[in-house]
């Protein structure tokens, strides 16, 4: 736990070598001298907004270097988050390949920090929940958290740039923590059960929690979907999960 932290906007190299904006929060050296783990935060579809940045700072408070790339930087550099999200939406959204390139750039940035113990977790909310699973199926991460990502299983709408991830799940490279609301329709309890069954059949470690009296986006503190009991318990489980999988161990490499 870090009482003091630093947060700032930086540029990182994303997909296709593009320079994109990212929000970085790091614990103070005196509180967390390192080496330490790191977390990649994937923002929800409404964008790189204040609530997403609050999440990044919370991971720094928990003792991790944390970063959130602005996935809409190319479409709308410097725009307000809601305007950027609208432009990105009008242009079809973020293709999976580009998301993976941006995530790879962010992960490389985190591992190159002098404080890095080499371990990186990924977490995403809403559309970012699906993208978190996508990252864990394709990139080298040590732990992944899916917060109510739709269309990991199930059928995306016709014409969507996205597919479900069913054919990629056998490639999942990291333990997956799933956070879901029982009242959610996408993903529904049936979608979550299908994901659970597929991961079990493939021998993939996972730990799912589905909350009563919670639907989609129950972690969103600035939306009517916020559910304090589910969110508080969810944050505790996330902290424990990353504490287990991102901790520095005797065999953990240090530095870049």
């Amino acid at each position: 736990m870090s009482e003091q932290l630093t947060a700032r906007t930086i540029q990182i190299t994303g997909a296709n070598g593009d320079e994109i904006q990212a929000y970085l929060a790091t614990p103070d050296e005196t509180d967390e001298p390192g080496p330490r783990g790191a977390v990649l935060v994937i923002h929800h579809m409404p964008g790189y907004d204040r609530a997403s940045k609050e999440i990044v700072r919370r991971f720094a408070e928990l003792g991790y270097d944390a970063i959130c790339p602005n996935l809409y930087w190319r479409e709308a550099p410097g725009a307000a988050p809601d305007d950027a999200a609208a432009v990105a939406r009008a242009q079809g959204g973020v293709p999976d390949e580009r998301l993976l390139g941006d995530a790879a750039g962010a992960i490389a940035y985190l591992r190159a920090l002098p404080t890095s113990n080499g371990k990186v977790g990924v977490i995403g909310y809403c559309s970012g929940g699906r993208q978190s699973v996508l990252v864990a199926c394709n990139l080298d991460v040590d732990a992944a958290v899916d917060c109510y990502g739709a269309f990991v299983t199930g059928t995306p709408p016709e014409g969507s740039l996205r597919t479900n991830l069913v054919d990629q799940l056998p490639n999942l490279r990291a333990p997956l923590l799933g956070m879901f609301g029982k009242d959610d329709k996408y993903p529904s309890p049936e979608h979550v059960a299908e994901l659970d069954d597929i991961l079990t059949a493939n021998g993939k470690p996972h730990d799912f929690h589905s909350y009563d009296d919670a639907g989609h986006a129950f972690f969103s503190v600035d939306r009517p979907s916020y559910r304090v009991a589910a969110a508080n318990d969810g944050w505790a489980k996330i902290a424990a999960f990353y504490g287990e999988h991102l901790a520095t161990t005797a065999s953990t490499p240090t530095g870049a």
Binding site: R89, A90, P157
Partner: protein
């Protein structure tokens, strides 16, 4: 959920937007998804935009589904009320 589904329509008209300035509207983007400001989990969202004006060149609406249906009816009623000789 994020629905991902987005409907586009070409537009030719004007809107009063950022800075209380009028601008030419060339496109409408319509989708049912999370609002930014409305106190609802999902709303019918309409962005009336001129892409040439950049990301903030838009008027954004977030309407509850019943309000969106009421707007459709109001628009249709207004169009239906136009005298025959003024219709184009």
């Amino acid at each position: 959920m994020c629905t991902y589904a987005t409907v586009h329509a070409d537009m030719d008209g004007s809107a009063k937007g950022p800075g209380s300035e009028w601008f030419h509207v060339t496109a409408a983007t319509v989708y049912f998804d999370h609002p930014v400001h409305a106190m609802a989990e999902h709303t019918l969202n309409i962005d009336l935009a001129d892409a040439a004006k950049g990301p903030n060149g838009r008027v954004a609406l977030e309407l509850r589904a019943d309000s969106a249906r009421a707007l459709i009816k109001a628009i249709q009623d207004a169009l239906d009320s136009v005298p025959e000789e003024l219709r184009v």
